[in-house]
């Protein structure tokens, strides 16, 4: 009796669908455990992605010729896209020139890190922790503050940010702290959370679809196979959609960074 119950329990356990969870984003440390240089799966993916990106782009840059190859043309198109469609479009050429390297770094790095979630073998975005988007957002806000202080001076910069013109003075009592909060916390965290949440949700939905496909098509292998076909189609759709989201999030992060930095400059007459 006990034996048969036990066998039944094992079968039930085997038949359970493996569901993705937030624990996927808190993987155990696999190298240098307990040190500040500990490496888990996501960081390993991030390091590998960085090495691959630096190698590919480095070789492309080193071999760049006046008459470009197809690959070089594609990379040049990306550089042009960041320069013209993001930086110059938001800031103009005069202001924007200074920030082209920064925004190119942000856009291309995040693009590669986000796309890791769609690369078989990696299966998780290298930006799928709160820290990486936060570090990038902090860099953005350092630039924001530096530009504001350089252009206006710290006093005027803070005054312009906390006490916007045209507001009745009693409102400043409420508005000034909110503005300061927005300046220090809300803007960087909105950038961070937007990217992080998109990477997490994308991974969870895609992993859920694939897990359901595995469950319906292979584990159960009965009349529920129909659901497996549907979930497989859904996972293919989500895979393509996640590629789009990965590109879109890199673009949004880059364009918002540019817009925030541009806001720190004085208004043009």
């Amino acid at each position: 009796m006990i034996g048969s119950f036990g066998i039944g329990a094992v079968t039930l356990a085997e038949a359970q669908m493996e569901k993705p969870s937030v624990q996927d984003f808190l993987p155990p440390e696999i190298l240098f455990q307990g040190t500040p240089f500990a490496i888990n799966r996501i960081i390993f993916v991030r390091i590998l992605a960085t090495i691959i990106m630096l190698l590919v782009l480095g070789i492309t840059a080193a071999r760049a010729k006046v008459v470009p190859s197809r690959w070089q043309s594609a990379v040049e198109w990306l550089i042009d896209f960041v320069k013209n469609s993001i930086v110059y479009q938001v800031m103009g050429e005069v202001r924007g020139k200074r920030y082209v390297p920064m925004i190119t770094t942000v856009f291309l790095s995040l693009l590669v890190f986000n796309l890791c979630g769609e690369v078989p073998g990696f299966n998780i975005a290298a930006s799928a922790t709160i820290t990486l988007p936060l570090v990038f957002a902090m860099w953005c806000f350092c630039q924001y503050w530096i530009a504001g202080i350089r252009e206006k001076g710290i006093g005027k910069f803070l005054k312009d940010e906390m006490f916007p013109a045209g507001v009745p003075w009693p409102v400043y009592i409420l508005l000034a702290p909110i503005q300061l909060l927005e300046l220090l916390i809300i803007r960087p965290f909105s950038l961070t959370i937007r990217l992080f949440a998109n990477m997490v949700s994308g991974h969870l939905i895609l992993a859920l679809c694939l897990s359901a496909t595995q469950y319906f098509l292979i584990t159960l292998h009965n009349w529920m196979i129909t659901f497996g076909v549907i979930t497989f189609a859904a996972s293919m759709f989500m895979y393509l959609f996640e590629i789009l989201v990965a590109c879109l999030q890199a673009y949004i992060f880059a364009i918002l960074t540019t817009a925030y930095i541009n806001m720190s400059y004085p208004e043009l007459d």
Binding site: S21, L26, N40, I47, K65, S109, I130
Partner: protein, 176 residues
Amino acid sequence: MVTLAEGGADLFIPKVYDIVWSLIILIIVALFFYKFFLPKFQSVFDERAEKIKGGMAKAEQAQKDADEMKKEFEAKLAEARIDASQKRDNANAEAARIIAEARSRAATEAAQITENANRSIEAMKQKALVEVKAQINQDAVRLAAGILQRDLTDAAVQQDMIDKQIDGMASADQGK
């Protein structure tokens, strides 16, 4: 449930090693883009722009050269046309002169030939006349000799007859 909630909250707490690796990677990537990647591509863009600019300058120079050559060619062509026209005029004039000369020479020669022919005809005519006269004289003499039964070819006879005639004429005058 509690574990899940804790796990969810953990997601938003940055780990020290994650911060360290994120910063290291950001610094490396930023250095790469700032110091190598973008300057390298910028130099390629500049070189390309320079070449395009140089190419355009070359094309402009080539266009200028071509225009100059065209002008030169057109000038030479006009000159050649004028030259050819002059030569044609000269040739025409020369031809006209040659024709006129030939005509004149032919006319002179023709006149000469005609004159010679006329002279020759005249000479022959005179000769014929002389011959005819001589023949007539001879025939007349022979006829007269026949009539007179005398040899009029003899000078003495002729003298005798002349004398008789003169005498006859003299007696005629006296009778008048």
